[in-house]
Subunit: 250 residues, 2 copies
DNA sequence: TAAAAATGATTGAGTTTGCGTGATACGGTC
DNA sequence: GACCGTATCACGCAAACTCAATCATTTTTA
């Protein structure tokens, strides 16, 4: 990638997020922090962004505080996501669900040779500049609060494709192994996702075992695998294993 | 191959990818890097591309990305976009094409009560946080350099919807009124867009009158309206009027 | 055939990049 | 306010990369 292109992307990334940390930008663009600092310095001189300690702000929308840039990493959830990313072999296709869980998986897919399909706008943003990854966006209505696409357009798009892996998030797994969700509107999309995938992997940290949710997404039997933590509720795990689901502990 | 042909191909390659490195171009065209450098130098002098360290960027001429680089005709183009935005009544639905032209229209739609449909990732970014606007994204393969979605998924999504207005960009309008585009891959998407809209509005500044392009998008008769500048080529304008297209001067 | 143009290889100069180092800024505690 | 640990920064350096100029060779033009 040309230096000028990279700098344009930095500006775009800042416009999208309002702000960005040096470390985050370096990771996203695949260069060292030193290079990012030099870019930021240059772009600041050109007036295309505002340099601040730790990163940079978008030039017009700079009213947001910089505090949340250095967001603390949730170590456990990240470990689950990393484990999930390791399941995928280069060349395969991956479908990523709505939610932060899927976003975390996407963060671990950088630089891999994969086809990624998603209706998750945060994933789109995360992988948009990764040239290794073939990225496919499902259509749909933008649901701002969830940074996702939903609706019949999404379901229709899902009918047109098929993938090797689906990584699914959840609001909770019931003691009988049923996968639940907190919002009705997502359920048809999730069901369509399950139909479009060879292997369905549920990602759930220990707080989801057991967990609640108003809407049933699927039966345990429809899952191929569940990635969770060693100290997740044993009874629910056993229920899953009995249903033929491989339970992986990260 | 003649040097002129090769240089045309370089420009075309940049239009397609947004940017290109010296090494990449040399490999693609089967000549040495020295020759590519000489070509780039010459093309830069002619204003057909922007030379940067390591390669070159496409210059604003088709309807391609990287708008922030060249702000020469910004004023005129923005006037056209504003005029276009005024055509829409609150409550209506608008389909926005790929390219910077459509992005400019989107910038003038902020705060309006509209439904906006797009495969333009720059538009998505622009309107993502605007709560007044119902935003619908078409599915498709991410085309990084153009910040857009293309492919059969996009076309399929377009078959599922219908809108009041379509705002179309172009690389040029031929003297006979035919609307052209510089890249083949977009044409099926643009045609599907035309089918999905009640009214088709073409946005074209004077540099597009008359203009070129390898691929024919549509006949003048398929347009409802053209928004352009007062000093755009009169012969072409007359040709459009004759075809029943309303020509609006901004 | 001779002049002109284009090409590819080479070379030394200029740029960019990543890493290490010591200096500086930040946030929390006393 | 003073202090301290952590994170961030600017600077310098070496390696890799890119560039413009030059020259010999090939191709095109007159």
């Amino acid at each position: 990638m040309l230096p000028k292109q990279r700098q344009d992307q930095i500006v775009r990334a800042l416009r999208a997020d309002g702000a960005g940390g040096v470390k985050v930008l370096a990771g996203k663009l695949g260069v060292s922090e030193a290079t990012i600092r030099r870019d930021l310095e240059q772009l600041h001189a050109e007036g295309r962004l505002t340099r601040v300690y730790g990163g940079a702000l978008a030039v017009d929308g700079g009213d947001e505080p910089f505090a949340d840039v250095n967001a603390v990493h949730a170590e456990e959830k990240d470990r689950i996501a990393r484990r999930a990313a390791e399941l995928v072999t280069d060349g395969e296709s991956v479908l990523l669900d709505i939610g932060t869980t899927a976003l975390r998986v996407a963060q671990h897919l950088h630089g891999r040779s994969l086809t990624v399909v998603t209706s998750n706008l945060a994933v789109l943003e995360e992988l948009q500049n990764d040239e290794q990854i073939e990225l496919i966006v499902l259509g749909g209505f933008v649901r701002r609060s969830y940074r996702s696409l939903v609706g019949y357009l999404t379901e229709e798009s899902l009918r047109q494709i098929h993938v090797d892996w689906l990584f699914l998030g959840t609001s909770g797994v019931r003691p009988d192994g049923r996968v639940m969700d907190s919002t009705m509107i997502e359920v048809p999309v999730k069901r369509a996702m399950i139909k479009a995938a060879d292997r369905v992997v549920l990602l759930a940290d220990r707080t989801k075992f057991p967990g609640h949710g108003v809407a049933r997404v699927c039966e345990p039997g429809e899952l191929t695998m569940v990635v969770t933590e060693p100290d997740a509720d044993e009874a629910t795990r056993a229920q899953l294993t009995e249903a033929g689901v491989e339970v992986v502990l990260a």
